[in-house]
Assembly symmetry: C2
Homo-oligomer: 757 residues x 2
């Protein structure tokens, strides 16, 4: 950390914040194209039923309706990584959100009216809504291809060491069942798609995708349109949190409507539709067994999970691969076994959501760490410190830990809530904590985990970074602008960031796995360094110095160590441009992290570095009402380096609010496949007023692989909050909540049970 930094490390307000807070930004939902039609989707009324007949004749006859489509008159398009999901359903429906028909009309009202004119005859079928029931013999079969209701491609077993021997060698072994509910992303911007074909058949899709380049590929595969004829333009979106990682049926449907009508077609979800038909975080039923020696040495961890996949497989079905990493590698555990079954049910289907399984995995691990500490008679903080990962560790799964601030995170978070004074004290207050590990240097899940960038510097010193990476509101544009500004030595406000239009931007795998600051940051830095080199070379020629003797800072070029005599950097750009053998400044950067894909036994170092965090909370429990009040949350995060401490705090605050909701308030109540609370009145998302004081503690470990030392940190903030609260409630009133959210009812029942014992 010896180098002096000017723009990195500064609290730069997000570049897009002024436009967003003043309502001036143009979201996808604000977009209108000439001749644009509005699409609407008719969904199933039943969770499991045979479709006997669809009569669209009255809808087609409604003035203003330009197209009505069903599975009958469109090619079968199966989407999702397991290709088990037809976008328009024929034969039968498998969940209440299922798409049966779609309409394009001159306005949304007409489209809605047309939906109401479509008559569908069903023959109801028995459904199955509990994943444990679903995988029992004799359960109703959801997909003929999966007669046991198991997504076989995700029936996975991982191990390292010998978990049986580990338990034998343990002094204390405990075993529990924990459960996690349906929750959902609650993006302020609902699902959006706008598709338009040129008369030559070139398709442009304005989308809120998080992965424009894989989306281009997915669209091509799904629709049979060559990828060379597809352009994806990422619109300004109101949040994503993983929900825009996959393609959903409404997107090919929107494109089919555009194809059929020859007009641009837009589909936007209503808020109710967003709750019902956008993906969820997957519910988990988890059996966990942990063992340790008397001295607190962790010996073994065995986890067995059933995931509720819902009716179809989106990326949510693959979250066990991320869960596995925490189960294998959070704390030093010599013997681990993990088994998972992903079960089809007639519920909503689950998808990717911030943390991608890690909130569930960390919940079960960190609840159990607390319970094990209790059985051992140890302070849970000390127990964690004893087993904490350390720099240089290679875990049983092959995770190579380089920089690691876990110990410091645990200590600092504990200090912040006055752990030592407040723990295990009488009264209704208590403290609890939880830690986590997460990828912080990309995650190789595709042959390339790279990102390309170009940097252009114009005659006036305006710098444009064109990055393959995707900003979905997380603030990556600002962070990348700071990195470029730092490398080039120009003010941040002179840097414009362009993302993402697949025709223009260089490739990137997408915004997932908290990878953008690390991967796109390294790429942007390389491109900026290339531009800097070009400018300094011109300067060296002009003033007869060696490039090595020159430097650029603050828009000035000078001899190293002699900053008082300088040339304006824009002047040098012009001088290079305006000479006969001149050139303009166009630079590129491509960064591919030095990582590997997992082998068949799931071993391999998929990330160039890892992020760590610990959160500690203080709660007060009202034993009369069962209500839990969080008094404070201390969130200590090892971020490598905070490129923008304000943005890091923003991520922490946002993540903690998501974790708090997971812990205390949020649940999508799904009964017989139906969502009973598809609105913000009944789905209790925490608001700003519900938030406790948060202390963000930034731990900088200056990762040598990261851009200016930074590691990814965006997902982690939501991961340890819920188990920390559960553990604090236990410390406060001695009851252990085993399933989220911690409702007053559950607390009261637990208090009653405890009294009864």
């Amino acid at each position: 950390m010896s180098e002096e930094l000017f723009y990195v490390g500064r609290r730069v307000p997000k570049l897009d914040a002024p436009a967003k807070v003043t309502g001036q930004v143009v979201y996808g939902h604000d977009m209108k194209l000439p001749r644009m039609l509005h699409g609407k989707i008719l969904r199933s009324k039943h969770a499991h039923a045979r479709i006997l007949n669809i009569d669209t004749s009255r809808a087609k006859a409604l003035p203003g309706v330009k197209a009505v489509i069903t599975a009958e008159d469109t090619p079968e398009i199966r989407i999702g990584w397991a290709r088990d999901h037809p976008v328009l359903k024929s034969g039968k429906v498998r969940s209440i959100r299922d798409e049966i028909a779609a309409v394009a009309a001159v306005d949304e009202y007409t489209a809605q009216e047309a939906l109401e004119l479509i008559k569908v005859e069903y023959e109801e079928l028995p459904g199955v809504f509990d994943p444990e029931e679903a995988i029992k013999p004799g359960a109703p079969i959801i997909h003929e291809e999966a007669p046991n209701n198991i997504q076989e491609k995700m029936r996975q077993s991982y191990f390292h060491g010998d978990v049986h021997q580990g338990f034998v060698e343990s002094d204390v072994v405990i075993e529990d069942r924990l459960r996690l509910p349906f929750v959902t992303h609650c993006c302020m911007g609902t699902c959006f798609c706008l598709a338009s074909f040129s008369p030559s058949g070139d398709l442009t899709v304005w989308s809120s995708t998080q992965m424009p380049f894989l989306y281009q590929r997915d669209l091509s595969m799904a629709l049979g349109i060559p990828a060379t004829k597809i352009r994806v333009i990422k619109v300004t979106m109101g949040g994503a949190f993983g929900s825009k990682l996959d393609m959903y049926p409404f997107e090919p449907i929107c494109i089919l409507l555009a194809q059929k009508t020859g007009c641009p077609v837009r589909i936007t979800f209503t808020r109710e539709e967003e709750f019902i038909a956008s993906p969820t975080r997957q519910p988990v039923i988890c059996d966990i067994k942990s063992g340790a020696k008397k001295d607190g040495t962790l010996m073994a961890r065995q986890v067995s999970m059933i995931l509720d996949n819902g009716a179809y497989s989106s990326w949510g079905a693959t979250t066990p691969l991320v869960m596995m990493q925490s189960i294998s590698s959070l704390y030093r555990v010599p013997n681990v076994k993990y088994d998972v079954v992903v079960a089809y049910t007639n519920n909503l289907y689950s998808g990717a959501m911030r943390g991608y399984g890690n909130p569930q995995a960390t919940f079960v691990i960190e609840c159990h760490m607390d319970m094990l500490a209790h059985e051992l008679g140890m302070d849970p903080m000390q127990f964690r410190l004893k087993n904490a990962n350390q720099p240089g560790d290679v875990t049983g799964q092959g995770v190579k830990i380089t920089t690691c601030g876990l110990t410091e995170c645990i200590e600092r978070a504990a200090d912040s809530v006055a752990w030592v004074e407040k723990r295990a004290k009488p009264g209704n207050r208590g403290v609890g904590m939880a830690a986590m590990i997460h990828v912080g240097g990309g995650a190789r899940i595709y042959p390339s985990d790279g990102c390309g960038s170009t940097v252009k510097v114009d005659d006036y010193g305006k710098v444009t970074l064109v990055t393959g990476s995707t900003d979905m509101g997380q603030g990556s544009e600002t962070v990348l602008a700071q990195i470029v500004a730092e490398e080039l030595g120009v003010p941040v406000e002179n840097v414009t960031v362009i993302n993402t239009d697949t025709d223009i931007t260089p490739w990137d795998v997408g915004a997932h796995a908290s990878r953008t600051t690390f991967i796109a940051g390294n790429s942007a830095r390389l491109a900026a360094a290339d531009a800097k080199g070009q400018i300094l070379e011109a300067a060296a020629q002009n003033i007869g110095e060696d490039v090595e003797d020159l430097d650029m800072k603050d828009g000035k070029i000078f001899r190293k160590g002699e900053p008082e005599e300088w040339i304006p950097f824009a002047k040098m750009v012009r001088s290079k441009h305006f000479r006969p053998d001149g050139d303009v400044i166009l630079a590129k950067g491509w960064y591919e992290p030095p990582t590997e894909r997992q082998d068949k036994e799931f071993r391999g170092n998929i990330s160039a570095t890892y992020g760590f965090a610990a959160q500690a909370v203080e709660v007060e429990v009202d034993t009369e009402t069962g209500e839990v009040t969080v008094l404070k949350i201390a969130a200590a995060h090892d971020v490598g380096r905070a490129i923008n401490p304000m943005a890091v705090e923003g991520q922490i605050h946002g993540g903690v609010s998501m974790g708090l909701g997971y812990g205390l308030y949020e649940e999508l109540v799904v009964q017989e496949g139906e969502v009973l609370n598809p609105n913000f009145a009944d789905y209790a998302l925490p608001t700003a007023l519900d938030m406790p004081p948060i202390e963000s503690i930034i731990i900088e470990t200056d990762d040598p692989a990261g851009p200016f030392g930074a590691k990814g940190m965006a997902e982690p903030a939501c991961i340890p909050t819920a188990p920390a609260i559960v553990n604090a409630v236990y410390d406060a009133v001695g009851v252990r909540i085993r399933d989220l959210p911690i409702t007053p009812e559950k607390v009261l029942n637990a208090l009653k049970e405890k009294e009864a014992r």
Copy 2:
């Protein structure tokens, strides 16, 4: 021309044609932004008057009006290259189009209504509308800074040789006065501007500019906003023809309204406004004297011009610099003198228009060549051939002629109208011709005449060319796509061309001087060659061959001479991308032509090559009505190489229709500064039905400096048509029309005069 070409030389339909002919393209005029307001401008009712008072109070009070601005409440912004043009007028108005106030309102109707509520009190001043009158002592003074009504910066004299001596040595000397009228561009898309400020003060302007990068600079200078805070996005526009080369008052006004209201503001001209307030081609009064020896050797040419600049100086005032080139260098003329005065009047002000003065210069030269041939008793075609420029010539002005197909153009055009059989025959039919020279390899009027390009190739083989150049409907995207396709050996339909967004595209000076195919084409070819090199290098590594032994064609990579065994090119791109030390294909090209700026005596070779053309026409004159019917136009153009013969023909047809209108139909009738025919009913633009058969004759001289041999050819087609018609009318009925257009009235009067003699 030995190399085998696959995509260059093919008749590829313009890539944007399907969307345009089906009405699906989104023009600037179709753009709507959320919260967008509509701007309207109040113009002067008088051609010359003192403004005594402007009362905007009633307009401001009108519901829906968001801002009313005048010179009183805005900073003084002076625009145009001579900075003689305040965008909002104070003190006095100098022409009827003058901007007095502007309104932004919620819709156009409200804005229009508000204009009608603004009361302006004037004190009328005597005006001057004839440029000859304007420069006489005692004429009303238009600008206090120019008391003689002369734009002194453009009072220019050029000479080479000794024109006096040239006339002395001539056997025949003739002298005439010729006149050219006001005509205008008649773009189908009227003037357009949409301006929006971000809350951070960053300005985005959607514009139909032809020169986005100089426009960015001009906006910065005019508005005092740093260029680093300005982004110019070129919209799809309905033609430009030079009219979008400069910034006009409505553009800063639009931006001032956006600044004042905090909302995006759009201004689009009505058709009437377009006729009145967009620029014109400048009227010229020309005295020309030419001398030759008996054998037809041209000896001397003296030209003296007065240009009607109108009330303000736009680029139109600088057209003498282009006129000068034809006057000095069209045909071999050892002694030339050229003097020009640009006079302010209270007329509309003139601007750049296709040919940029060359239609006027060529008109006077080519009428006089015909007249001189007549005096010499020579066939005008033979006279032209005798004096035609030849490859290797360096003209008196320092114009270096490399490839030159002028002789072939003259011969082929003459053949096409059966010149020898039809010339000087009895009856009312006649043939005539005219030739021209024009820059064909850029035109260095700025320190850089270069263009930057990038080429990106994605994993699927989709190629994106990001070019600095501007397509304004002329088809440059298609030509550039063909050049990239040829260089990379991929189908044209896989190439997408992105232009122009100053934040994204590399620099280019703009679309003027017929430079795009040549300059941007060379740049695109360099970028494509860079991409090709990157791909072949990867292929060489993969298959263990030398790069030099490999080639790429038709999307395939193979050993030279062994095309039957090949690897798909997209597969190689992916293979390069997906290796650990991989990279994506991002390539760049920067082309700066080897030219020089003119010195103080206007000498220098400003273009890397020159285009030549000859057009021959056959006419029939109705001696009862005076009506001239053009029976055929043969247009022979030396284009170096036709990258796309269909596009070349399109340019020829469009240019000829413009030249035909100039010759026969078009005139903006300006009386006391007022346009009497500001609509398509009264301004007789030729329609498709008015067009005679046109034979396009493409002469390919394979210019070594051009991309695949191409030279610029877009402006030339409109240049020689009008004098060819005048000359044909003379051949038909023996009357010489000395001012355009050749109306039936003028022909009848001339016939009467001729009879009377």
